[in-house]
């Protein structure tokens, strides 16, 4: 048994002075529900909004692909009871900030849209298993549409830090609803934009763009004594036999 009086690391709060004091010290949460401070909550176009909050260190340790559950504010018209899951759109562990991208679609997001700088928003996370980014990867392709892009933004950021090149294919209904192109450009990504209104977002066109992008099918070729990588799907499949024997 541990003694009760020897631990005083958390001051006079009586709950920590009972027998749980030992575990209260050794246990630390990896998911936290907390009131974060809204730094900004601005429209990025007719449909999407960008929410930036100041949070604690655990939340700011979120990795690409993880998400948070937001307790959306109640409004005159809506009283959302449950939290709403929201992909991580950006994270800055040094500045203790996390960002979300959302479209006003229902009771929860209508509440989110009412937030102003300085307001509190209860966020809970980070949750889920994020992307696995193999440090050896030289080039990845990120494909997303609408708010689905939110998930991919931190991945592009992490890829840049990793030295991995990113090609991003963005889909939207109309060009003016395209979001995050500049952000991805800042992360060093090549962005290919496709839209419904331009009839470029169909599966056939995406497949055409994707061919040659993934670099899964490259193999070594000897071109004038130098080893180069060529894509079977794009550069081939018919190759010079001598070049194909490096």
């Amino acid at each position: 048994m541990t003694t009760q009086s020897s631990i005083s690391l958390v001051g006079t709060d009586p709950i920590f002075q009972d027998r749980t004091a030992k575990t209260a010290r050794s246990w630390a949460p990896s998911v936290v529900g907390e009131d974060a401070e809204v730094l900004s909550n601005d429209s990025v176009n007719l449909e999407y909004r960008h929410l930036v909050v100041r949070c604690g260190a655990v939340a700011a340790s979120a990795v690409p692909g993880q998400f948070f559950q937001l307790l959306c504010p109640h409004t005159d018209g809506d009283q959302p009871f449950l939290r709403r899951p929201m992909s991580l759109y950006g994270v800055n562990p040094a500045r203790l900030e996390v960002e979300f991208l959302y479209k006003i679609a229902g009771a929860g997001t209508r509440g989110l849209a009412t937030l102003r700088a300085g307001d509190a928003i209860d966020i809970m996370g980070p949750l889920g298993v994020g992307f696995t980014l193999n440090p050896k990867l030289r080039h990845i392709v990120a494909i997303g549409r609408g708010a689905g892009l939110a998930t991919l933004a931190p991945l592009a950021q992490a890829a840049k830090a990793n030295g991995t090149k990113v090609t991003a294919i963005f889909s939207a209904r109309r060009p003016e609803l395209m979001v995050s192109v500049e952000l991805f450009n800042r992360h060093g990504a090549d962005v290919v934009a496709v839209t419904d209104s331009e009839s470029t977002s169909g599966p056939a066109n995406i497949e055409r763009i994707l061919r040659g992008l993934c670099f899964c099918c490259v193999r070594d070729f000897n071109v004038g004594g130098e080893i180069v990588h060529r894509r079977v799907c794009w550069d081939g499949p018919v190759f010079d036999m001598m070049e194909a024997l490096p």
């Binding site: 709950i15 009972d18 990896s30 998911v31 529900g33 009871f81 449950l82 809970m124």
Partner: protein, 315 residues
């Protein structure tokens, strides 16, 4: 220092706060320190493997949610091999929630789970009884008494019996469970409910009807805890819409010896530890040294017995 301990149906708990069955699993240890809880209560397990109900299984409504999950279960061997060892590392006692379609199955399951590491059995008798046209055991005193007797004979562990709020005769059902040997009652479960989607004209739940939980049901279940606590001598554990310290105190004043927190955890995953912290502060503020002194401490000096007769009819 405030004494938070309570005696509940054969166990002494370090504090009166525990999860409601079905709202708690191992993953919550990322958010709260499990060693601070009064007890663990598992999601209901069954002997048969069950996949659960058709989707969607949950819909939110004003002040709560309606669920029809359908008790998906991985069966007893999985529980014994995986779940049980996981909880051995923690201090709070493990209460195992069980369910079965017949009294005989209930008894067999209770016997199979009577082993080291299990501190008590919580029998969820709000499930359909296939021997009574699918009517839940806890809807009637007679079927409650029968199944609890079978459970009592099958296990030496403390036996907690979880009652349904959907019966019109709850005090009588409570007395039947006590007569048959229950060590404590859990009052109550979700309230049968439904919701309809105005876009599609279809029910919001795949199973059409489901159980309502959350703050919306708190006043109803609080009344039922009050009725049951007056009807029986065994401890009553309150369970229905408890989200805050104030809710927990209110339940204890109504007669609950302990409380279970369920839906609130979905909204605030640290709700249970927040409530425990709040109970200490409440007791300090009111100069209460033992939290057990709150149990049943509601004052009804204004009412005389005839006025209360409709609340708890004489036996």
């Amino acid at each position: 220092m405030i004494d938070l301990s309570v005696r509940v149906g054969g166990l002494t708990l370090a504090n009166p706060v525990m999860p409601a069955s079905g709202t708690f699993a191992e993953g919550l240890d990322k958010v709260i320190d499990f060693n601070r809880l009064g007890a663990f209560v598992t999601k209901t397990i069954t002997r048969e493997l069950r996949a659960g109900n058709p989707l969607p299984r949950v819909v939110e409504c004003a002040g709560g949610l309606i669920n029809s999950i359908g008790i998906p279960s991985k069966g007893v061997p999985y529980f014994l091999d995986e779940t049980l060892p996981h909880y051995a590392r923690y201090k709070p006692p493990l209460v195992v929630s069980i369910s079965a379609p017949t009294g005989e199955d209930f008894a067999r399951l209770a016997a199979e789970l009577t082993r080291v590491g299990v501190a008590a059995i919580e029998a969820n008798i709000s499930c359909p009884n296939i021997e009574e046209d699918g009517k839940a055991f806890a809807m009637r005193a007679s079927s409650t008494e029968l199944v609890v007797r079978q459970l009592r004979a099958a296990t030496s562990l403390p036996l907690w019996v979880k009652l349904t709020p959907n019966t019109g005769d709850l005090p009588e059902v409570a007395r039947a469970a006590e007569r048959a040997g229950a060590d404590a009652l859990v009052v109550a479960n979700t309230i049968l409910a439904m919701a309809i989607d105005l876009e599609t004209f279809k029910p919001c739940l795949g199973n059409i009807m489901g159980g309502l939980s959350g703050p919306a049901i708190k006043p109803i279940v609080l009344r039922q805890v009050y009725q049951c606590a007056r009807a029986v001598k065994i401890p009553v554990i309150g369970c229905g819409g408890i989200s805050t310290t104030e809710d927990a105190v209110e339940y204890m004043l109504a007669g609950a010896s302990a409380v279970q927190v369920g839906t609130a955890t979905f909204v605030q995953p640290a709700a249970m530890t927040t409530i425990i912290d709040g109970l200490v502060k409440f007791c300090e503020r009111r100069d209460i040294v033992r939290i057990a002194d709150l149990i049943g401490a509601v004052l009804n000096e204004e009412s005389d017995e005839p006025e209360l007769s409709w609340v708890a009819p004489p036996q």
